[in-house]
């Protein structure tokens, strides 16, 4: 493991034909390694998620985070791009899958790639991480408190989102789930439901559920930050990726 990294924004092409700003970070060290697609949260391609991407690169992986709001324009303030995308109803699931597929393909094309690619997301990205792993061949998926993997969005919910229950049989990768017991989206009952479905389907998964933690407990710049849960969560992520994305 090296603390020397590169990090920059490049362009990749989504399966939709759109050019995507993509934040990539890699260890400077040589050698084969796995790749990780980071799915940013609803607030967008922001500093906090880029910090997260660099931390995963520091763990020893090539990382790519596509800007899911690239279609709103280039070089925008992330909050402005997020607001524009939200006003249009959010990111359609099919578009998300195409964008993650392009990022995964980019990672596999790198000379350092060992061929394995995982995906991780927080909040809306948690659900999208599971969505990607149900529709793409991946080697690891991490869902950090993603809502509406199970459960039903409220009546009149204007974003283009449904639960993923009917897609879970297609889950292609081991799933790590990290949840706060004080969260309501997803609620502990919904985490129980997901746990039961995955068990019934015989899918490989592991869940870690934290007391004194609600939604967004990893977010160091928000009041929801919970240091004990976040520290243990990062250890679980490190171990999970080492097991599933290692050489």
């Amino acid at each position: 493991m090296s603390d020397s990294l590169t990090a920059q924004t490049i362009k990749i092409t989504s399966g939709t034909g759109d050019q995507l700003e993509t934040y990539v970070s890699s260890p400077l060290a040589d050698g084969k390694r796995g790749g990780v697609v980071v799915i940013h949260h609803l607030p967008g391609y922001d500093r906090a998620t880029k910090e997260l991407a660099r931390r995963i690169a520091e763990l020893g992986y090539d990382v790519a985070m596509p800007n899911l709001y690239s279609r709103e324009g280039e070089g925008l303030d992330p909050a402005d791009a997020a607001a524009a995308a939200r006003a249009k109803g959010g990111v359609p699931d099919s578009q998300l899958v195409a964008d993650v597929a392009a990022a995964a393909e980019h990672l596999r094309s790198l000379p350092t790639s060992n061929g394995k690619v995982g995906v991780i997301g927080h909040c809306s990205g948690g659900r999208q991480s599971v969505l990607a792993a149900c529709n793409l061949e991946l080697d690891a998926a991490v869902d950090c408190y993603g809502a509406f993997v199970v459960g039903t969005p409220p009546e009149g919910f204007p974003l283009k989102v449904t639960n993923l229950v009917d897609q879970l049989p297609k889950l292609s990768a081991p799933l790590l789930g990290l949840f706060g017991n004080e969260d309501q989206h997803p609620s502990p009952e919904q985490v129980d439901e997901l746990d039961g479905i995955l068990k019934q389907l015989g899918k490989p998964y592991e869940f870690h559920r934290y007391d004194d933690a609600g939604h967004a407990f990893f977010s160091v710049d928000r009041p929801s930050y919970r240091v004990a849960a976040a520290n243990d969560g990062w250890e679980q992520i490190e171990s999970f990726f080492a097991t599933n994305l290692g050489v």
């Binding site: 609803l42 524009a84 006003a87 659900r127 974003l159 989206h185 939604h215 929801s224």
Partner: protein, 88 residues
Amino acid sequence: MCTYATLTTDLEGSAKGPASKWFHVTNGTVYFDHPVHAMAEHTLNIDFADPSKGPGARVAVELTAQSARDLIAAIEGALASAPAEMTV
């Protein structure tokens, strides 16, 4: 996905926004969700925007739920204090 509902409405007016410039406001977006900047877990967020000028043409506010209710009361009070014929 943590938001509850995103409501949009047409607006007619102006806002002073990026680079301290005034711009014509045509759309409002209102939702209750995690804020970008305010120190609260959830806030009532309003975007005053002109989408035709791009995503940057926006004035954003993030208010605690109580502040949002106070603002509604203040707006209603201000409108009620003016002669009805002026606020049609």
